[in-house]
């Protein structure tokens, strides 16, 4: 990774031509669509993108139209990282043999939470273990939204989905969200980070850092889904701020395993009073509506307790780094 950080202004980003273009069919207020547009602002030169089956793949590539201003490949759901392996291997071989231009080409793999936490985990783990040079971006909208809002390994505790409905006996998803970034860190990757679209500059910087790594890098991006979360489309960016402020989704980066909170989360760690209660984040999201009833108040308490515990552990991990 280059030691000198890439500096840019809002104007630079606004002037940089979009590579994820308008005209796609995403819903109003779609978090992932905003995330993808920002990610593409972080590219630094010739780039090939590959994407798992999912919302963003479907809305952006309806034949004969496309929203992609760069070479883009989709093959299936569980194999975005395997696609990246093949693309990277091909670029290497063709360059070595002089069959393509002798220039570096970045490879970005995109997948939702289903294509990362669940069905795509094996291919991701394999590709990272093999050390392919690519950036894997997880846009996490916390469920299988494309197929109609089903539970995934990325769905948080308490959320109602169509396969974890809020019933009279079971109050939504009982299980925890899978600690995907910890799993990726355990692969001893050079770069692992989390980001949200509210802190767009942080997100774009992390994309660039991930691309600068010579090897695999992993970026976990929080991406609100108004349809799946039963939330106001106008508030997607607000939720991506509240998630950080309530420490539900702290943002940080780990370079060679050394973890550091990114500025918004670091400010909360320095002034703990600024940490908002999880209720502020959960309220207004229809998927958590059932928790705001007397019989389910214990679930809310448990979410707060688990969030606090997770945050404390994260602080320790950052300190020990």
């Amino acid at each position: 990774m280059t030691t000198q950080e890439w500096k840019f202004t809002a104007k630079d980003i606004a002037l940089k031509p979009d590579l994820f273009l308008s005209g796609h069919r995403a819903c109003a207020g779609c978090g992932p669509a905003t995330v993808l547009r920002l990610i593409m602002k972080g590219t630094r030169g010739p780039t090939i993108v590959t994407e798992a089956t999912g919302c963003m793949e479907v809305v952006s590539s309806i034949y004969p139209y496309t929203s992609w201003g760069l070479p883009w490949l989709h093959t299936a759901f569980e194999n975005a990282a395997a696609n990246a392996s093949g693309i990277e291997a091909a670029l290497k071989a063709l360059r070595k043999k002089g069959k393509i231009k002798n220039e570096h080409v970045d490879v970005i793999a995109l997948a939702g939470d289903g294509g990362t936490f669940d069905i795509g985990l094996q291919a991701l783990s394999g590709a990272v273990e093999r050390g392919h040079d690519f950036l894997f971006v997880l846009y996490d909208n916390e469920g299988y939204m494309n197929t109609g809002i089903q539970r995934s390994g990325g769905t948080p505790t308490g959320a109602a989905t169509t396969t974890t409905p809020a019933g009279s006996v079971i109050p939504g998803k009982l299980e925890k969200k899978k600690p995907i970034t910890e799993i990726m860190l355990a692969h001893e990757m050079e770069y692992v980070a989390t980001a949200t679209p509210y802190y767009w500059k942080d997100l774009i910087t992390k994309v660039r850092k991930g691309l600068e790594v010579e090897g695999p890098a992993f970026l976990h991006v929080f991406a609100p889904c108004p349809r799946g979360w039963r939330s106001d489309p106008a508030k997607s960016i607000e939720y991506s701020k509240l998630a950080v402020e309530s420490c539900v989704f702290p943002i940080w980066e780990a370079v060679n395993g050394k973890r550091q909170l990114s500025i918004p989360s670091r400010l909360i760690s320095l002034a703990p009073k600024k940490k908002k209660p999880v209720k502020d984040y959960l309220a207004g999201q229809g998927r958590f509506r059932h928790l705001f009833t007397p019989q389910n108040s214990h679930v809310l308490d448990e979410i707060q307790r688990a969030t606090d515990e997770h945050w404390q552990k994260l602080l320790q991990k950052c300190e020990s780094a």
């Binding site: 696609n83 392996s85 093949g86 693309i87 071989a93």
Partner: protein, 410 residues
């Protein structure tokens, strides 16, 4: 053999012959996962990589699903790609088999044909690739290690032909061919490389009106693997069939061209007729058992019986016209299947052959023999019984059981 072309004779088993051919074809990317009885192919290829004999990027994936995915993605990026698998491995690839053909990626895959679980069995039969019949891959089955070598070289030319642009499976019988040492005549590296040539790309017209090669290229951004709905999906599938139709001609052409440089050809590339012109009774077979059948036919001919063999080399695309022409004079036909289609009328090959002959004026009786499942040996003595049965059918006109099992204990 053509004059002035020196070929070296090497002692190779089928898997080694495949690996040797892939080495000579200047493959850019190999992505694979080990599975018996294919493993020797990837082991051998790894040695070539380790010893710097090839400039190939070898990707040792964590599963067959990722192996084929990586091949597909590499192929989409413009690389010549090769992989090998068998049995459960091919079954795990199943989803991506369809995506590869639908993406028109000319991946070449050797399959050391092996039985499918359950019960677990590592030995040879055709259950694996016959189950992939409708996945849109060209399928060629070989008779021996020599043909395995020759067919891999031909496979790149067929798959990468711009009118074809489809993936191809070259099937060799597990253990019977994959692990059996034979003398294999090989072309010089230069000649093989010249024959295969550089990968060719179909062209597409961009929205700006530019004609560009169909591949992922930062200079010519292209969206590959889109979603196509009710208004376009059907046309994509119809075009795939066009690729198959073109393959039918291309396989014949390349078989001829290859004969010109090597002195070896396999029938017309689609079917191989053995003493079939005047045959009254005919057996249709796929793969290595054809070799044994040829020996038996020679014996029967000496005994005065007009017996012949049709070896179906290309199963997909099915050479319907060739099958009709070759079999129309037979008075009784037995079709051999090394796999089952449970609940269907006989095995896959039987169904295809019988179907192809339906419109012929002469309707010879056709029977099906399921044989060799899970690697069960079919002895010459048993195979001889097929001809005896066909002779009886011609004499009596009485077919009895249409689907039979050869060498089964029951």
């Amino acid at each position: 053999m053509p004059k002035n072309i020196k070929q070296e004779t090497l002692g190779l088993n089928g898997d080694e012959a495949v690996a040797f051919a892939a080495k000579q074809c200047d493959v850019d990317v190999v992505a694979a996962y080990p599975i018996t009885p294919q493993t020797i192919i990837v082991e051998k290829f790894s040695e070539y990589v380790a010893n710097g004999e090839v400039k190939t990027e070898f990707v040792c994936t964590e599963s067959e699903h990722s192996a084929l995915t990586a091949c597909l993605a590499a192929s989409a990026t413009g690389a010549r790609t090769f992989t090998a698998s068998a049995s459960a491995g091919l079954a795990l690839m199943n989803e991506i088999l369809f995506v590869t053909s639908g993406s028109r990626a000319p991946v070449v895959m050797a399959i050391a044909n092996r039985a499918l679980s359950s019960p677990l069995n590592i030995h040879g039969d055709h259950s694996d690739s016959m189950a992939a019949r409708d996945s849109g891959w060209i399928q060629i089955y070989v008779e021996n290690a020599q043909e395995a070598y020759d067919s891999i070289i031909q496979a790149f030319r067929i798959a990468e032909d711009t009118g074809v642009s489809l993936p191809i499976i070259v099937g060799l019988d597990g253990f019977t061919l994959s692990h059996t040492l034979e003398n294999v005549d090989v072309l010089s590296d230069e000649l093989a490389k010249e024959f295969v040539g550089e990968r060719q790309f179909p062209t597409v017209i961009t929205h700006e009106g530019k004609t560009v090669p169909y591949k992922l290229d930062p200079d010519n951004p292209m969206t590959m693997g889109p979603i196509a709905l009710q208004n376009y999906y059907f046309e994509f599938k119809r075009q795939q069939q066009e690729g198959m139709n073109n393959a039918l001609k291309k396989i014949v052409e390349i078989n001829n061209e290859y004969a010109g440089i090597s002195g070896r050809s396999y029938g017309n590339g689609l079917i191989e007729a053995y003493k079939l012109e005047d045959a009254e009774i005919a057996v249709v077979c796929v793969g290595s058992t054809s070799g044994t059948l040829k020996v038996i036919i020679d014996e029967l001919r000496q005994e005065g019986l007009k017996a012949g063999l049709l070896r179906l080399r290309t199963f997909r695309p099915l050479p319907v016209e060739e099958l009709r022409n070759a079999l129309q004079n037979s008075k009784a036909i037995a079709v051999m299947d090394k796999s089952m289609s449970f609940g269907g009328l006989g095995g896959a090959v039987f169904q295809e052959i019988r179907h192809a002959l339906y419109d012929e004026k002469t309707h010879p009786p056709i029977i099906n023999y399921i044989y060799g499942l899970g690697g069960r040996d079919s002895s010459p003595r048993e195979l001889r019984k097929i001809f005896e049965e066909l002779t009886r059918i011609v004499k009596t006109g009485n077919v009895d059981d249409q689907v039979r099992y050869l060498g089964l204990r029951e």
